[in-house]
Symmetry: C3
Subunit: 200 residues, 3 copies
Amino acid sequence: MFHLLDIIGTMAFAMSGALTAMHKKLDPFGIFIIAFVTAVGGGTLRDVMIGRTPVGWMLDVNYVYFIVIGYVFAIIFRKKFDRLKTSLFFFDTIGLGVFTLIGLEKGINIGLHPVICIALGTMTACFGGVIRDILCTEIPVIFRREIYATICILGGIVFFLLRKLNLDSDILYLTTSLFIISVRLMAVKFKWHLPTLGYK
Amino acid sequence: MFHLLDIIGTMAFAMSGALTAMHKKLDPFGIFIIAFVTAVGGGTLRDVMIGRTPVGWMLDVNYVYFIVIGYVFAIIFRKKFDRLKTSLFFFDTIGLGVFTLIGLEKGINIGLHPVICIALGTMTACFGGVIRDILCTEIPVIFRREIYATICILGGIVFFLLRKLNLDSDILYLTTSLFIISVRLMAVKFKWHLPTLGYK
Amino acid sequence: MFHLLDIIGTMAFAMSGALTAMHKKLDPFGIFIIAFVTAVGGGTLRDVMIGRTPVGWMLDVNYVYFIVIGYVFAIIFRKKFDRLKTSLFFFDTIGLGVFTLIGLEKGINIGLHPVICIALGTMTACFGGVIRDILCTEIPVIFRREIYATICILGGIVFFLLRKLNLDSDILYLTTSLFIISVRLMAVKFKWHLPTLGYK
């Protein structure tokens, strides 16, 4: 189940990367690389920083295949993505929830401080998109608009609070994922966003 | 003492990152990430490249707290930074000296060649700022103006020359830091800079 | 022989980095860093991601010297590079062939799946240029024009097909390099390129 959600998230991230790259008029190779780094960039950065090498996707070639599927799908249906937007957004949100938890878990496994684990969760979920935007020479969208990374941080805090209650691990994971996913849905529905700070 | 300087440098770098990000009108989360990577980016890159993982700041959560303090400070006093500019510049220069030495030391500890150690020192001191500029889609300022990284390289050379004299390690560190700090102060006071090379 | 080609490739990549940086009017330090990352960036990324640390160039200071030579050469002859363009292009193509093979080999050595090895080969050959372009705030050229990375992928596929024939390892390496080099020469001569995908 959890693994299935991981696959859905990976494919959704690959598609969102491919769509950004097509907007920038990249060639098919460039689009593929952007799809790839959007999907695995956050986890790769996390693995490299905690010394979990070779990084995750290198040990399971299936990730490459899922990304290829997402990429091909995005190219074929590129003219229909207005209608598919809602589905893509939903899958992307699943990815956000699942990847945050995967990141948290990796940090806990090697005994890092909760604050650092939350950083790892946020990095896993959000930094694929940061690398995508940098490769397209845009200031990363999550630094400018939308509560996105902030939800991962909140999700991480909820996770560690619930963890003190000695809940069953499955319930703990499920609750945190659902928290992240529903806050994200509400944030977009009600247009929540962080204020920009005036400077001089 | 040395640890105190490390903290001062970390906070100064976090503040300089936050200020750059506020100029770019990022939201509070974006500003925090930029503050964070400016403060720890150079050391993180170094640790990842020498295989010292989990990277430094993950093992000492205090760094996160110091960065949060620098970040909050920068946000609160953002309208007064014209008057605080000199202090910030001074702290930033302390960071430059201290971080160069920390980088040099990590290289020496694992027996790398002096040239590589100097590269590690320069990376530790300067690449947080490089990553900051890239995330803000600017060509890194240290590639364009100001003798900055060059001073770290000179400092590294001075370090290895003095080391041959079998000085006490405290004196060696102190002298090198003071060298870097004073050359930087002079470079800014007398507006030293590297020439740009004409191309065609 | 293979080592000599590695040196030629490293110097050619350093020169191509220096030339890009001079076009951007960077100062001499900035030009050097861009030359450096263009030459070793792909291999560094690969080493970090497979956990081969300290990364390659840190263990053999000669790479630094070869890069310095390429850098000085590019600066001295910067006004004559129109005439030297063909030679530089030829050396760069040698680098492409050699670096792809080095990357493939590192992956095979640690028992990774062929698809992952091909990714490592492509990364080794192409990502120095990607980092160069990002540091100069350009969308990486290999994502936009020219069959470049695609040739590395094809070369990797040829390598694994030939490998099934149980060829002598020297012949296998030579054939694959020559394949990559000649396809690249033809691609440029006959102006082969990937189509851009229209998006709406």
